[in-house]
Symmetry: C5
Subunit: 103 residues, 5 copies
């Protein structure tokens, strides 16, 4: 898997029938140090990731190992939304806690 | 998947028997910003994409996950024609609406 | 798939038993403009391509989707011999017609 | 497979259900000479490798060929912890023997 | 497949159980002209190749298409030892004949 950040979305009305309803997100790879790279992929989003969220993307036949994508022509999938990662014991990224709702 | 633009076609009369009748298109990858790159692939077109159309291409065993390509020696498929995509909330590409026919 | 030109052959007498009799060709990738690149692959030839012929090569599990290669340790196959291809409506390559035999 | 060194971990609470409990490690590829490269991958760890350990990682559908990862959306796995490797008869790396415990 | 030269070995005592007894070799890719490149892979050796021998390596799910590797977490295999190859009709490499034993 690779770490990436969700930067956008693709809309395609003409597609193979089995692709109907699958959200297509544009993911840019980042380095483990958190630097944005030029590599990107279009992935089916199994989790409802928002723009700017850090995710793990899996490729190849692996992308079909979910109920959502089984037997569909999908070669990349977002299968995790990253909370945090660390390199050499140092936290590189930590997802901001959702704000407490006041009610 | 990757975003690409259809730039041409390949004709091959000598091919493995199961390939008969599958349209072969040349697709150039583009960056999410819409810049043409040097990377290209030859893909079976499941949708009848025209020259100049932006498409999504899937690779590997994934390319065989359609009725058209099942069990055939195909490793890349056009499985969507792109209407529009956006990066960071900005529309990068929007397919021109087909002209109204005057009759 | 990628477009390549057949430039040579490999002979290997010691190989896994199921590889017996499969012709192994060296294929160099070319750009859609017809320029030779440094990328090459060794492919099983399902079609009897001659040196100098332009071919399509498919990779991965796809290379096993023929009667010749089914269940064999083959990851690249020549599955088409190219007659012609065009980019932006311009013919880049056209296979020479076989000469008429005089008899 | 490739040789890499375990440099960190990823935590993801939102993931496809089947991923629960699979440890996710960040692995940097190294050259056979032992030099760290910029290439990295996020792998499921089937063996409990520690930070700094040298491992072999396998990719693609291969990553699902263990009881731990079977049918899960995993495309990279740590399937061996390296004790030693040699190039041209010269030992490049040898894992330090665990210290004898004094009791 | 790619042509490579066997340059070394990896020893790993901690590995997924099904990997027991599979020899792990380090293979460096070479160009069709016979030049050593920086690309390398760790492959299961199905044939008992010696250091310095030229081999063909296959990758991906293909690496599991032998009795030795079936259902094991192996993504690269040495499936042929090269005797000779030629480019444009010129022999680039020819394996030395084994010396006649004097008895």
């Amino acid at each position: 898997m690779v770490i990436g950040v969700v930067v956008g979305s693709v809309v395609a009305s003409q597609k193979t029938a089995t692709m109907d309803g699958l959200p297509l997100r544009i993911v840019r790879r980042i380095t483990p140090e958190g630097t944005l790279t030029d590599a990107y992929m279009v992935a089916v989003d199994a989790l409802g990731a928002a723009d700017g969220e850090y995710v793990l993307a899996a490729s190849g036949s692996t992308a079909r190992q979910t109920a959502l994508t089984d037997t569909k022509p999908v070669d990349t999938i977002i299968m995790a939304i990253v909370d945090t990662w660390q390199i050499n014991g140092k936290t590189i990224y930590e997802k901001a806690a959702p704000e407490t709702s006041h009610q």
